[in-house]
Symmetry: C2
């Protein structure tokens, strides 16, 4: 049988003190996801805006990455991986070496050559595609993406993984043969983003956005409404219009379509899409050969999803004040099993619960690595259930009073639905057979 | 049915010119893996010692990472992810801010605070574990690892991914309650490394090694013998002794066990293990509480595997002069299907081959995403087979002359074994059912 995952052996330090407990430095604002993730041993600060991602977070992140890979592959995305060091020449050519200002981390190598730590890769990918000197229109659209660590020297890193100086981003860059084709690509990738957020069960709005330092002519943000969000949004109550306030004309307070008053909201930006046109392809001369064999500049788009930010934003919008809730699909562990307290009168139920744990792993192998056994049997069931509630396992299986019945009955908490069921072993397996793991 | 992977649509620029073709800058040494990987569109240079990993390389890397994850999990490894920015204070405390010299990339943030781009994480992980103030001996051994991008400002980056300035490394850090336990951990992780290289089919030697800038008292390297390797090794012909020459006493030419003359070899270092003792735990005061509740310094070890280096080293030692060979388990794609040339007399066999492609994906779903259809039917089968040989698919399925027989017979090249088989559809599926994908 598969090795049991014992909670006591997992590296997830709980109940830490001081800054690590999510209290922040004196006077520093904090938010729910930051507090909860610090308290639950999901992240640990290493310096301003820099965090260790502890094992449960890596599990959630790898699941999220799998879902992103599926969505990107579904739109023909091909995954590559570009260097973090971006040369000053390359960034000067696009004008962004100066334009990005102090947000770029900069360094010189041992030969005095200057680099930035790339926050994004428009220049690099365009240069790469431009180096393919015989690119044909038949090879387009080209949709390249990566999921890597990015760097930004934030003036005010804060809110844990919501605004940090190192973060993971999924960034896609697309190359099309015409503006029309590029706009089709744009819509396709936006649909993939919708699909992703739908699968995660995250309420999002797609809003008109400013193009900022990336550039281009059309841009949208995918925002999760939340009070702690740094973006201010306006929404038409009938859904005709949604925009970041940055894009509004001065004094605009009504929907341009139906004239109704716009409502205000705050949002956490979790995705951003740009139609770039030839802004970058013209700098690097990224051309393809048309049917009549003429070189033509590729029409580009770029598309970002904040990987670590989506993790934190999910926790921010789904959690209760003292209990983390994950999108079920990407919870670090799907299940927690709680055996009886040592010395309690249900103690003999421990063996029954452990058998349940093993049998479930055999019946549903995809959940075997997703099930934790809370072996801290010196603690009451109640205390451990409280921890389980705090950590946000979608399901908790408890050996309560009825575990000694024949057949044994388990208490199953569906934490996301907020309901408790009493089920036999077969019932538990039946219930959990619907649980998906990416 | 699953979408077909058409070779013409894959981003893998072949036959590039100049440096990208693996010729190197004037006077720069090159090696087989560098040439082959550049020519095959697996990597593309972005600057000195920095490479884009193109889609097939990312596929191979993700497979290799899966195998590493399996091996690390099997020895109780828990995966985390530490920041790339390492603060100067932290690195000064261990003495390595100065000791590492110009190999550390260094930078200052917008507030003038100094950082390095971490090439390794002994300081960071020890600090992290030290922050868990109530660590009990019951929670040990603790075996933490990550697989992330690392940075080293090499004096002479060269040989493609064999010695680059950005690279991926799997680094594990272990914490034990006693020296004896730490040595058991050491042996266990070394066994996991053996298992990994065995599964990849890579011939390796484990040699006694110097501890260098990492420190500690015991160290071994896992080396792949290769002329281009930068390490010089000595081996006892009867296998009693193997060491990096750095560790030899002056004038030592015979095996300390059997007295036979040592033979010389060169090797590519692909793994390195260190027993660290308390070198780092004493700096960060990383303690655990013993059974009698006394704080005691943790006994540490650290263990590295070069992820991108293993990819290149595999290509280096397995390939022919003009054909890449991968360890089967991690080849970017397992299969290439070559339909007949357009206008040839076997042209009608194209449909038969495409059906073979689809049926295989249905019969063996784990290979569906691993099968490429070489749709460049304007080219002869011979030319495309030459490319397939160059790219190193473990299996190539060709619609040759006998595809028009009843039942159709396919020509199957097992490139790693160097043999050709003539098989019906059932035979092909039977043969390929043994192919593993991590």
């Amino acid at each position: 049988r598969a090795k049991r995952l014992l909670l006591s052996q997992l590296f997830q330090p709980l109940n830490l003190q001081g800054e690590a407990a999510g209290e922040g430095k004196a006077g520093e604002p904090t938010c729910r996801s930051q507090k909860l993730m610090l308290q639950a041993g999901l992240i640990h600060p290493s310096g301003p805006g820099c965090y260790h991602y502890l094992p449960p977070t890596v599990r959630a992140m790898e699941k999220l990455i799998k879902v992103m890979d599926e969505e990107m592959r579904a739109v023909g995305g091909q995954k590559l991986n570009m260097p973090s060091l971006g040369s000053a020449e390359l960034w000067r050519a696009s004008g962004r070496w100066d334009h990005m200002g102090p947000e770029l981390f900069r360094l010189a190598d041992r030969h005095g050559k200057n680099y930035c730590l790339a926050p994004t890769h428009e220049e690099a990918v365009t240069e790469l595609v431009a180096s393919q000197t015989n690119l044909s229109y038949k090879q387009l659209p080209l949709r390249l993406y990566q999921i890597t660590r990015k760097f930004r020297d934030e003036p005010k890193p804060r809110f844990g993984l919501l605004r940090s100086r190192e973060f993971y981003m999924k960034d896609m860059y697309t190359f099309d043969a015409s503006e029309e084709a590029a706009r089709q690509t744009y819509d396709l990738v936006c649909d993939a983003y919708r699909s992703l957020f739908d699968r995660l069960g995250l309420p999002f709005v797609k809003v008109r956005a400013a193009t900022g330092s990336i550039g281009g002519t059309v841009s949208h943000e995918f925002q999760l409404p939340a009070d702690v969000g740094e973006d201010r949004l306006v929404l038409c109550p009938d859904g005709h219009f949604a925009a970041n306030v940055e894009t509004l004309n001065e004094g605009q307070t009504t929907c341009p379509t139906c004239g109704k008053n716009l409502t205000q909201s705050r949002g956490i930006e979790v995705g951003h899409t740009f139609y770039l046109g030839t802004k970058y392809s013209s700098v690097s001369n990224a051309v393809f050969y048309s049917p009549d064999n003429k070189p033509q500049l590729a029409e580009m788009g770029c598309y970002g999803l904040g990987v670590t930010r989506i993790l934190a934003a999910s926790v921010e919008v789904l959690s209760t004040e003292d209990g983390i809730r994950w999108p079920s699909l990407i919870a670090p562990y799907q299940l927690c099993f709680i055996p009886p307290k040592k010395g309690s009168k249900e103690e003999e139920g421990a063996v029954v619960l452990e058998r349940m744990y093993d049998d479930l792993g055999e019946a549903l192998p995809h959940l075997a690595g997703d099930s934790v056994l809370d072996d801290r049997t010196q603690m009451t069931i109640g205390k451990r259930l409280k921890d389980a509630n705090k950590l946000g396992y979608p399901y908790v299986v408890i050996a309560g009073k009825r575990v000694c019945e024949d057949p044994p009955v388990f208490e199953v908490w569906n934490q996301n639905a907020g309901e408790v069921l009493f089920l036999t072993k077969e019932g538990v397996i039946e219930l959990l057979s619907k649980v998906q793991v990416p």
